[in-house]
Structure formats: C-alpha cells, structure tokens
Amino acid sequence: MSIEEIQNEIIDEFSMFEDWEERYQYMIDLGKDLPLIDDQYKTDNNIIKGCQSKVWVHAELKDDKIEFTADSDAIITKGIIAILIRVFSNQSPKDIIDANMDFIDEIGLKEHLSPTRANGLVSMIKQLKMYAIAYQTQLK
C-alpha cells in the first residue's frame, strides 16, 4: 500500500470514533501493540529530542525500503509513533520524504502537531524523514 492509501485507511478508522476518549483509547491500544524496538537500539543516540517522554527510533534499509522500529516510555506517545510507523515503514525513502502529513489533522490529533508541544510529534516526523534523506543519499 502507498503512504496515501495507508493514511486514508487510518482516517477511516478514526472516523468511527465519536469523541476524544475513543480516539485516545485507540491510540493507547496501538501503543500497547507496537512491536518493541530491539534493546540494543535503545541507545541515547536513537533518542528523539524534544519529547517529555523518551522516544527511541531505529531505521534499517531492506530491499530499498526503510523499516522503522520504535519505543517510548509513555503510552500515548507510543500510540502516536505506532501511527507514524504504520504510515512510513516499508516505504521508499523518496516516498517518505515527499509524504504529506495533513492526515494527522484529519484524525483529530492536530493538537499534537504544535511544534512547541512537549510530546514532540513534530520532532518525530522530522527524525523519520531525516532517516529517509540519509538512506536516499546512500541509495544514489
């Protein structure tokens, strides 16, 4: 599936929720299901700065696509990363770099998009895209 298709799928899922509580409960559950990052990658190098909670991200290139794994010590943050990883993982670096992120707004998480918000959604997106840029130069 393309990034856009996955995003539309997520928008569909979120459209079933009536209120913030259902949305958050879903994110919390996504966070619980997030495949954990291998412990060897939970290093200070892989910590994304700008989050009040700790967030670790690891990226690997497989068949010219990037596979992301991640973890956080806060569950809502983890849910947010789970959504990002679902969108970005197993996509080509170019598609990740070009991805439009407006879907965040559409699933009612706009409040997390403020660059000054301590959960660091903006830093997370930036970091994932940085990996994509790094791998893209490597592919060329």
Partner: protein, 404 residues
C-alpha cells in the same frame, strides 16, 4: 470572612473552558492566575501614565516613577525589609539568583565551599555551578531523605569555616516541602557564611519576615504571587548589596560616566540597569496588596485544608504514590500511578480540562533520587475548591483506567 465564591469572581480566567470542560487550574506552582484587581492596574498603567521613570521632568514620568517606587515600598513592607533600597526589582527569581551569584565571583576564592540543597530548582543549581567554575569554589550538596526533607545533621556536618555561601529554597517546587530555613540561616551565620533563600514557592503561601529571619538574600517571582510574568524581586541586606559589584552595566545604574571611569549609582539603582519592567513592578505591588487583603494566614489555612482533603483522596487510589510526604508542606502534591508515565496522565487530565504539570519540574536531582522520570504535580491556590479536587480524583481514576 473567606468567601471562595467571591474570590473566584476576581479571577476572570477561572470561568473559561478547556477542551469543552470547565477549567480546573492546578498548575499554580508554575504560574498563578491574575485577579481583575491586578489586570486593572496593568490596563491603567498603559492607558494613563505609561512613561519612562527616574529621568523625565514631565508629569507622566513623575507619576510612573512615584507608582513604581510606591510598589517598592509595598514590597519592602510586605517582606519587612529595613530599607526600601534593599529591594531590587528583577525579572524574576532566576535573575535575582544570577545577580547574587555573579556578585560573589569577585568575593569567592578557590577552596571555598558553597552549600546547595538537594531539593533545588535548576535555577538555584546552575548559577552556582557556573560560579564554582569561575572561582574554583566547591559545590557541596545537602542531601534529602525519602520523605523529601533535607537531612539536617548532614547539613551541620557540611558546615565549616570554609563555607562561604548557603543556598536553599524556602519551599521545594517539585515536592512542596517547607525547609527549616530559620535553623539553616542561624547555623550558616555561626560559621560566617551568607545565605540566599529562593522564595519562589514560599511567597505564594507564606509571608516571610526577612529581618526576623536575618536572611542575607531572599528572591521571589511576581508571577507565582498573582502578579505578572517577567517580574520579581531580590531582597539583600544593605551591607551585602553595597559590597557586591553591579551585575549589568547600562543607564539608570550610574552616577557619573566618563570614558575614564564610571561611578555607580546608589542602591537600589546600582542593580537596576536599563529601563525596567515598569508596569510589572507596579503590578507586582498590586498583587501583593491583593494577597494581603485576603491575608496570608487565611490563605495558608484554606490551602492546607485543600492539601489535606486531596492527599486523603489520592491515598485511596490504588497504585498511586505520593512523592514528598513531609509534615511541613505547602499545597503541592507530586505523584505517579504505578507503571504509567506522568506525561500520559497529564495528557488525559488536560483532555478533561484539568491543568497539572508533568515532568521533572526543573528538579532533575530529586527525580534521580526517587529513580523516576518525573511526576504529575497538582498545586493548589486559595482560589481552588474541593469540587475541583473531586474532578481531579475522577480524572485520575479515568486516566488510570484508560492507560493500564
């Protein structure tokens, strides 16, 4: 008579909603809310007599200067300082601490000791570390115990003739512990050390008497006392303030300037370079007046009622740990739910319109002591109610259900 409903009417912000819910504001230890009486003073300043002070011959300037100096007297009276010129207007607690730390650069020598408490805010740690780097003095730490209190025998043991300075907060911002500063000041003076008390968290609840305390420096921030942000005060004993060199150079702080030599102005202007936050100073005075109209004894006893009520209910929530269990506390409760990150709890509470602080509260050493990433901190002011605490308890239970 203390009428909470009347008091709440003074604070326009308390009637707003957040995320569709009535605001429950429990982040008072970070910044307090502003009553209409203080807002009016701010509006009045900019509407009627905004002008630069201490230099104009015109009437507006004179009016602004009078009001600004009147505010200094209000603060002097409130803290019972001997002289008005012992009150230096600052931009806040952090500024006051840096001013003193900078001044001591020229006084301290390598091998001198300065003592700081384990309960400090980063504001009261970093400037002293910088001072130690500049002077070669040693920073020694008065340890804390499990209840979040300072271990006084360890303090006694650290004191020596090498001790030149002691820095302790009157009340810990992360835990709410009220420290025994009377004792600390007395003992420090016995070895000839100067004492700076960080009053950022005490001044919203307690009216300190700097002469009775015999403290050398006492600092506070207006924004935690119903006043504006970017405004604070430093009290310093006249003898110390005369001894310390100026912090910043500029207009206002000089007596005479030639390119060969500048002589500094008298106190307090020596430490007040440049155009200050004139409106902020005046509004700070108004905030102190407002709080005194209610009365600090009334404030403290009502807030203690809130603290006891909330503590009891929180203790009934299974898996909830309170950090900071000293008997001497202001209305601050730091806690965590087992296995749940404070950030998650804060996020859910925010969705319910409840404002709390989460994180390390600029007191990382305390969090390290308890081996936790941070806490959720609910801090109450005299305009909060038991009904709001009930809403918090319901919110925490909901957060617990959603998150575990």
């Amino acid at each position: 008579m203390f009428n909470i409903n009347e008091i709440r009417k003074d604070f326009p912000i308390l009637s707003r909603t957040v995320n569709g819910k009535p605001l429950v504001y429990f982040d008072n230890a970070a910044t307090s809310q502003t009553p209409q009486q203080v807002i009016d003073v701010i509006v009045d300043y900019y509407s009627n007599y905004n002008a630069n002070i201490h230099r104009g011959v015109h009437s507006l300037s004179q009016e602004a200067t009078d009001k600004y100096e009147q505010a200094r007297h209000t603060i002097q009276k409130h803290f019972n300082a001997k002289h008005a010129h012992e009150i230096i207007f600052t931009s806040g607690t952090t500024h006051g601490i840096n001013l003193v730390a900078n001044g001591f650069s020229s006084i301290l020598k390598a091998g001198d000791d300065i003592l700081v408490s384990a309960l400090e805010h980063h504001s009261n740690i970093v400037p002293w570390q910088m001072l130690c780097e500049r002077t070669g003095a040693n920073l020694k730490v008065i340890p804390m115990n499990q209840e979040g209190e300072l271990v006084i025998p360890e303090f006694d043991a650290l004191l020596s003739k090498n001790t030149k300075l002691v820095f302790v907060n009157h009340v810990s911002n992360a835990l709410g512990t009220i420290n025994p500063i009377e004792y600390i000041i007395k003992q420090a003076h016995l070895v000839g050390a100067a004492v700076l008390i960080d009053g950022a968290q005490s001044t919203p609840h307690i009216k300190p008497d700097v002469q009775a305390l015999d403290v050398d420096f006492y600092v506070a921030s207006a924004h935690k006392m119903c006043g504006p942000t970017g405004q604070g005060m430093l009290y310093g004993k006249e003898s110390w303030l005369k001894k310390l060199p100026p912090y910043q150079g500029g207009g206002e702080m000089i007596a005479e300037v030639t390119f060969e030599k500048t002589t500094y102005a008298e106190l307090p202007h020596k430490f007040e370079a440049g155009t200050p936050n004139i409106c902020g100073g005046i509004a700070f005075g108004a905030a102190i007046d407002y709080m005194n109209t209610i009365g600090f004894d009334t404030i403290a006893s009502y807030e203690n009622e809130l603290l006891v009520y909330a503590t009891k209910q929180l203790q009934n929530i299974e898996g909830l740990t309170i950090y900071g269990t000293s008997k001497q506390k202001t209305s601050v409760i730091s806690f965590n739910l087992d296995g749940i990150h404070p950030y998650d709890v804060g996020t859910i509470l925010d969705k319910l319109g409840i404002a709390v602080r989460t994180g390390h509260h600029c007191a990382q050493p305390i969090m390290d002591f308890y081996s936790i990433p941070g806490t959720v901190r609910a801090s109450f002011a005299f305009y909060n109610t038991k009904e709001e605490i009930d809403a918090l308890i319901t919110g925490i239970k909901k957060a617990k259900m959603m998150l575990s």
